[in-house]
Every structure is written in C-alpha cells, then in structure tokens.
Symmetry: C2
Subunit: 552 residues, 2 copies
C-alpha cells in the first residue's frame, strides 16, 4: 500500500497579494483526502480592463473534489471569502465559518441565489473532518472573529495561522488565545503556515486601543464637519470612530453600501454596542456642522465609493466645504497611491483639511510585524515554517526570518507548489496547475484568455471595422464601409479619415483580379493590409482591423 503523507498546497495567496486558497491533503498520493482553508478573491485593476474580481484557478482541486471534505474560513476579509459564492457550488463541500464570517458569506449566497451547506461554528470549536482534527483558535486581526486553525493528524500537527496580529488591548472581541497556542505547541507543531504581510516592518503593529484614543482626541478637537473613512470590515475601528463621535457630541451618519452591509452583519451578531445609533443621510444635513460625523467607505480612492463621490462633489446628501476635516483612519494599500492622492487633492480643492495616519496615530495594521512574528514562533515552537500570504519578496524574507527563529527548514512556496510536510521534513514534491481566473461579466475566464487580451489591444489602438459586399460576379455591390472606434476619424488636416480608408480599400480591391476576389482570404488580407498601412502612415498606430466580407 502507498505511503500515507500530509501535504500542503497553496493555490492562491503565495507569491501574490490576495485570493488566498490553501489545501491540506492526507493519505497516499492516489487517494488523498482534502480540506481547503479560505477561498478569496483579489480585485481587478487597470491592467485587467473590465475585470472586477479575480480568483485562484481551482482546476486541481475540482478534479479532486470527491475527496474534498470541507472548506474552512478563517475570517471574513474578501481575500479569504470573496470567491466562496463563485466556487462553492463547484466544490460541493460544506463550508465552515464562525458567526460573523457566516453572516458575510450568507449574504453572498443570497445575492448569488445559490444553496450552499454552510455550517456555523462557535469560536474555539474543535471538530473532525475525516483524518483531520481541527481546532479554531481565536486570534486578533482587523476584522471580528479571526482564527488560526490547529490541524491535528496522525502524521503531524500543523498550525495554519490565517491573518493575525497580537493586539494586547483589542477594543472588540477577545485577546489572542495564546494559551490554546501553547497547549498545541506541547503536542509538537511540525509546521507553521504563517502570514507574511508585515515581515519587513520592525517592532509591533500597535493596538486598536491606541487608535481609539487618538481618534477621540482628534475628533474632539474639530470645530467643523468631520468625515472619517476606514475599511468597513474593521468593525472595531468602526466602533471606535462611533465612540469618538459620541465623546465629541456628534451624531453618526453612515455613507456607502459596504459600510451599511458590514454594520448590518455586525449588528446581527451583536458586535455593535447597543448605545450606538445612526442618523439617516437625509436627516444629517440638518444637523449643525459641529454635531455630525460622517463615516464612509472609499479610503482607497475607489471611484464608486462614497468618499470619491464627495470629492467629486456629486453626492446627493453632502457637500464638502471650507472648514471640514476628512480623516483617513486607514493605510494606503500599495498600488492605490495615485487614486488616493487624486482623491485628497480634490478634497483639498473643496477646502477640506486632510488628516492621515502620517499626521496622527489613527491607524494600525492587522498583520504581525517582526516582533509579533517572533512571539508567535516562541509560543508555537514549530519545527518547520511555510510562509504564505505575501508577495515573493515577503515570503523569502519570512523564510529567512523563520530560520533565525530556529526552524529546521523553511520553504517559501508559490501558488501551485505542493509540499509534502511529512513523513520527514517538508519538501517540494510537485507543481500543480495554478493561476488566476477572471470574472468577466458572469463568465469565468483563465488569465491569458482572449477577451481581456483583446481589450488591452483595443485600449492601445482601437479598432477599424471594414464591411465589403461582393456579388456573385465578385463585383463590389455596395460602397465599402469603414467604421472606427477608439481611432481618430479626422486627419490632422481635417480630412475624413474613414473616407480615405474606404477609398484606399476600394482601390486595392479593384486592382485584384476577379479570380482573386473569389477567394475570401485574399480579399480580407488585401483590405486589412491596405487600411492598416494607411492608418499607420497618417496616425502612427496600427489598430485592430475586422474585415466583414459579405457575399450576396
């Protein structure tokens, strides 16, 4: 009989930011039983035109899904749960989540109108799936209910940390359950699979308690209207801001769909203190400027979020003006600098004062800085380390760091790297299909598929569509039509560019013998070459050319 192994396989989140998807397999290679931990998305940007959501390529695990025992969610951030509604129907296994996370995914299932076997588990739960004995261990992070998962098997024990930090004075929810981590450590932790986000940051990430105090001081000192933006999912931050508003005798008005959605989910599981209430945007406008605080989405400059609408001064309920203060209780996610600075410039142009984490200690990260990583390694005493949740440079740095903490071996994997954890020490044994799937409209396409590639080209030089009608004698039966999109329609001298192209195409066709005009390929190539060449001569660029040849 084949040897039983415990393997680890990241399909997303290792070597890139976002869309975390991690698999653990147990048994002989031919007959592994699997669990999946997290199933997240990342968001499209201008490099993926027309794409909002990107998820890991799940091909490998879909082929193994008969032996997929469950999908366990560590917490409710989109990079951990965003693809659940997209993929759960295909995966076909039960989904496990703690109450707040379950609230968030349930809403996704409702929106997608799908039926998924969602099992709500308590914080600190312990249960088995096949050969996996699984214990949720409570950590702290920038969203309620963050969990590590202690995986016990007869072959070895693994700690999968999920996303975490060590907040010694959290303002919502319990502290890090280091007692449970230390109990687990006594049972020998073969490998830690651990968050790498802040491995380049020294010291500690800081506590929400300090943020709450700084926000209270800052908001109390303001005389005009106050607008605060933060990550909606950071419910303890949301509560801190509300409490600071209360301390400053300001009513709170929420702006932005995801703010309302998350606050709703948090209220549904009693995370929002009952003395916090909200005023409707239509009513908030009547309040004196010094007695209102708007809490809104859009800290990353997202163009459709509330704050961007305020900055463009096209929000129906609120106009920013001289004397207002806009507080960014957030960080700049790398890549969003330009959007955020543009947003801040617009707000300054309207007369607002901007306060960011550079001006006051009003934000802390949800991920572990080096001293926190060090503490975790001290608690868990892992024999080996697999850094995940980060770009290549983070994973490699984390692997170096883990070695300084005395692990026997550290492997920085990439998506698709299958690592045999045991027997023996961790070792790369395979690379499986991996990559990104783009949600384009409502169709999932692998990265590299033609629609996005074609749209990038269209973005660069636009398109010409040339329609040619030939009759049964191969004579031109209607004037050739050239339509352009994304290309100049007039030359620099004001001439009708399309007419020039039509004329050139017609001339070129007429120079072809009747016999050659009988051949579709020859006609199409002649027309395409003619219009592209002339376009390039005049414009200096070569657009895509569609030739529509119709024969009557």
């Amino acid at each position: 009989m084949a040897k039983s192994e415990l393997v680890f396989l990241p399909l997303g989140g290792s070597g890139e930011i976002g869309m975390n998807m991690n698999l653990y397999g147990h048994g002989p290679a031919s007959d592994r039983q699997w669990i999946m931990i997290d199933c997240g998305v990342t968001f499209g940007d201008l490099t993926t035109p027309g794409i909002d959501l990107i998820c890991p390529d799940p091909t490998y695990i879909l082929e193994e899904r008969d032996r997929l025992l469950g999908l366990l969610l560590t917490h409710g951030h989109e990079d951990h749960i965003g693809a659940v509604a997209l993929l759960a129907p295909e995966l076909g296994c039960p989904v496990y989540a703690t109450p707040f996370t379950a609230q968030l995914v349930e809403r996704k299932f409702e929106e997608a109108d799908i039926d998924v076997d969602l099992r709500v588990i308590r914080m600190g739960s312990r249960f088995s799936l096949g050969p996996f004995d699984l214990e949720y261990i409570t950590l702290t992070h920038s969203i309620p209910e963050p969990n590590a998962i202690a995986i016990r098997t007869e072959l070895a024990n693994v700690l999968h940390t999920g996303d975490w930090k060590i907040d010694r004075t959290p303002t919502l929810g319990p502290e890090t359950d280091h007692a449970a981590l230390q109990v687990f450590a006594e049972e020998d932790v073969h490998t830690i699979v651990c968050d790498s986000t802040n491995v380049f940051s020294p010291g500690e990430s800081g506590s929400e308690e300090g943020v709450r105090a700084a926000l209270t001081d800052l908001i109390t000192a303001q005389k005009g209207r106050v607008v605060v933006t933060t990550f909606a999912s950071n419910v303890s931050r949301v509560v801190s801001i509300c409490q600071a508003a209360q301390a400053a005798d300001r009513s709170i008005c929420l702006l932005g769909r995801s703010m309302l959605r998350i606050v709703g989910a948090a209220q549904a599981v009693d995370l929002i203190p009952s003395d916090i209430s909200f005023v409707e945007p239509k009513d908030a406008g009547y309040l004196p400027r010094e007695h209102v605080l708007y809490l809104c989405t859009g800290s990353q400059g997202e163009p459709r979020a509330a704050l961007s609408r305020l900055a463009r001064d096209d929000h129906p309920e609120l106009s920013i003006s001289e004397g207002d203060t806009v507080i960014f209780s957030s960080k700049i996610i790398p890549g969003n600098e330009r959007e955020i600075f543009d947003l801040q410039n617009q707000l300054v142009d309207l007369g607002a004062q901007i306060v960011t984490e550079k001006d006051a200690p009003i934000h802390v990260s949800g991920h572990p800085n080096r001293d926190e990583l060090s503490q975790m390694y001290d608690w868990v005493k892992p024999k080996h380390a697999i850094p995940v949740h980060g770009e290549v440079r983070h994973l490699e740095e984390h692997a170096k760091f883990a070695r300084t903490k005395g692990v026997a071996k550290a492997i920085a994997p990439r998506n698709g790297t299958m690592i045999r954890l045991t027997p023996g020490e961790p070792e790369i044994i395979d690379e499986v299909p991996n990559g990104r799937w783009y949600l384009d409209g409502n169709i999932l396409f692998p990265d590299g598929s033609y629609p996005v590639k074609e749209r990038r080209k269209l973005g660069y030089a636009g398109l010409l569509s040339v329609a040619v009608v030939l009759d049964s004698q191969c004579s031109i039966a209607a004037p050739i039509q050239v339509f352009g999109e994304g290309v100049p329609r007039e030359t620099d001298d004001g001439e009708d560019f399309m007419a020039l192209l039509e004329e050139a195409a017609e001339d070129a066709l007429e120079r072809l013998s009747r016999g050659k005009r009988d051949d579709d390929q020859t006609v199409e190539n002649t027309v395409r070459r003619t219009v592209r060449t002339l376009m390039n001569e005049i414009w200096g660029k070569r657009p895509q050319v569609l030739v529509q040849l119709l024969r009557t």
Copy 2:
C-alpha cells in the same frame, strides 16, 4: 493708456505633477509681452490607454505667440523640456538653455527633424528679452545645470526657482549660488515662484556626497554580480555609482537606451570624469561576477526598460541569478508602487538580493525639504509667494508654510490661473483655457477627446460589429455577420455566441415591416438593441455595437 502689469500664468505643473509650463507677461492687458519658462510633459498611464506623452494645452499662449519673446529652460528633466520638440515649432520663439540642457533638447529636435532657434547660454548668464532682464542663477538639483531665473522688470522683481534643493556638498557641478540670490534679495524680490514637491518632508533632503559614500560601502561589500538602477538623468549619481564601481574594482557596463543617451550628452559637455570608461554588454558577460557592475534604466518598473527585461529574464546579454545583488539607487515615484514591487518580486524569484533606499542611504531627493525651503525664503526675503510644481495638497501646504515665513500673501494657483503680481499685491485676475493634450500616435488631442474615451469603453466591454446587407427590396441579401473583439465568443455552455447573435438579429429584422426596413435608423437601432440585450442576458455586460448597414 492701459496700466502696465506684471502677470504670472502657469499652464502646467500647478495642481498636478509634471508638464511644467509657466508664463510671465508684462505690459497692459491688451498688449502683453510674454516669456515662457519650461515646457514639459508627463507620461500616460493605464488611465490613458494608448497614450505615452501628455503636455499642457498651450492654446492660450499660441494665440499670444506674436508677443512671446522666448522659451527659457531651467534644466533638462522631461517634466520641464519634454514638450519642447512638440510645441516649439508652433510657439515660434527662440529657446534658451544652458549647455547640458541644450544637448538634451537638441537631440529631441534632431529626432523630430525640426529646426528650432536654440540659443545655448552659459551658467549664470544675464540677458534681456524685451522688458524682462533675466539672470540664470545656479542651484543644485538631481540633474546637472539646474537654474533659478531672476526676473527683473521695471514693475517688480520675481524669483522663479525652477527645481532645486540645497546640496551643500554636491559631487558634480557647483554649489547653490546663494550669493547671487542674496544680491537679488537686496534689490527687493516682490514674489517667489517656488518648487513645492517636498513641502510635506521635514528637515533636509540630504547630499549626494553621502549617497556616494553609502554606495561605495555597499558595492564594495558585494561578492556577486552587482546591478544598479537609477534615474539616468541624475548624472552625479551615475558618476557616483561609477566611482563606487572603480573603488570595488568592477568594470562598468551601461544598459538601457536613455542611460546611453544621457551619458552621451554628459560626455559631450565634459561632465563625466575622463577616467571613467565602460565595457560593452557583449564583453561584460565574460568578466568574473565580482568584477562587473551593470548600471541600468528601469528603477520605476518601466516595462520596456533594461531592468524589467532582466527581471523577465529576456535580456540578450545578462541573466540575473542566485547571488546577484540589485541596488535601487532611486525612490518610488508615487503611482509606480505596483510596477516596482512586481519587478522586485521577479528579481527575488530569480535569486537576487534587493537593496533599496529603505535598507541603506543610497538615494536623496532633488527637491527641497522644509528646512531648505526655509533657507531659501531667508536668502531671498520675498514679499509674496506663489507655490508651483506640485499637486493641490502640496501647493496649499506650501502656501501655509510661506505665510509662516512672513510673506504678506501666498497664492496656490491652479493651471490656468492668471495672477497679477503687480501693481499691488498678487491677485487672481483671470482663468484662461488650460488642460492636457494627449499625444496619440502622432496626433495631439485635447483630454476628453473621443479616441481615448472610446478606447476606455472598449477596454471595459469590447465591441461587436454587425454587418447587414439589404437589397433594393429591403430583403436581407446576405447572412447577417456578427464579429466580436474583446468579448466572449462562446457561452458558458460552449455555444457559438456570435451565431446566437446573428440569429437574433436576423429574427428581429425579419419582424420589421418592409417599410421600416427602408429606414436606416430603424434598422440600426433594432439590430443594436437586439444584440446588446442578448449579450447582456448571457454575458452580463453590454459591449459597444457598430452596425454596418449596406444596401445593394
């Protein structure tokens, strides 16, 4: 007779980054004589698909060009000279530049094959253009030959700083000529028009001398191959890197077109010490790893630059591997984070170690931090201040800062804001046409013109082109053809999407009466609506639709 005034008018660079263009006018409003200072570009990004270069809308000054006496260049950075070759022929005035800057623009004129009256002036020159008595005052910056321009007129004196810092120990070229600034101050400086880039940075920006020492230590300590990237135009940095290489007994190989171009220009005006020599890339490959240093372009992750090619491992002359060190003697220009981190991840993936300014003091900014601004105000003692060269938030902060330095009035202008400097104190008197012009292929289009707008839409959802042929009886004379670009061609179930659309369009047309089919608009609208609706039902997105109706 109308009153004589001195006015200032920025057309680029005030309220945005890049493409600096500043105008000074003298005389009565109806008959002003103008000088232009600098004529720069900014670069397109993914928000401007297909656009490489962007320059200020020069409409206003083109209308006044009969009274434009000259274009003065302060220094050779692209955001100050990049549009000279594009616009100088239209402006029709002489262009003034110091020798190194003149080298750079002359090469542009040659490439564009245009004839411009370029007047090379010595550093520290003083000359008159109509009512303007102009003195170039030598400053320090991150390129050779940076100049302020002292503008003396019978109405008032103005200091236009250009880009500057205070480097007390420059490694190439002279120190800041503060004696000249102080002499000018004694003649009463009515207004300073000043660089705002680093107004949010406390202290001083630091000296190139310190960078050279740190680079020497760092490079000497390396055992493997060393690759250094920096801004090619920073010739003193280039020289420092070369000297560090010499100290470490390494031969220097230049990679990247702009590195070769700038070094060539610098050699032409004797800026590169004669003991620095270079090996050809084809020869460098034979040198032992510990005896070679590659100096290359691409610090901002530009995809076509040498470093990006190395990171993708598709450079013909060099492959990065384990043990190599890649040094970024540069900063991250905001907005380029994602590209740079992607590049660094690729390099780490190849086995390279990355060293950036976060790890060692190997970069300093070329712009003044607050203490340097303070020193400049102390030297020049301006009565008024106009912050330029920055985003809105920089200009407003600089205006606040200037007030703390005792100026009577500070105005943060936006592009197109015409400010009467004197008589009296500075005051906004007009807003003139302004904006951005995009170089699309070889045609300049105003921002907002249709080609880029259309291409953004094409990028989002692609395009369908529908060709319909109707005969003289308004019967369908050839099967309707639907071609797609940037759209899915198969449904989720593998059906031929285009065939479905063709069928639906044909059905819809056939349901129209012959009379309605006689009307082009009705036919086109029916077809467009039919294919867009079906596309949206199946795909969830609405592409652009071109309907090509041809009648035989």
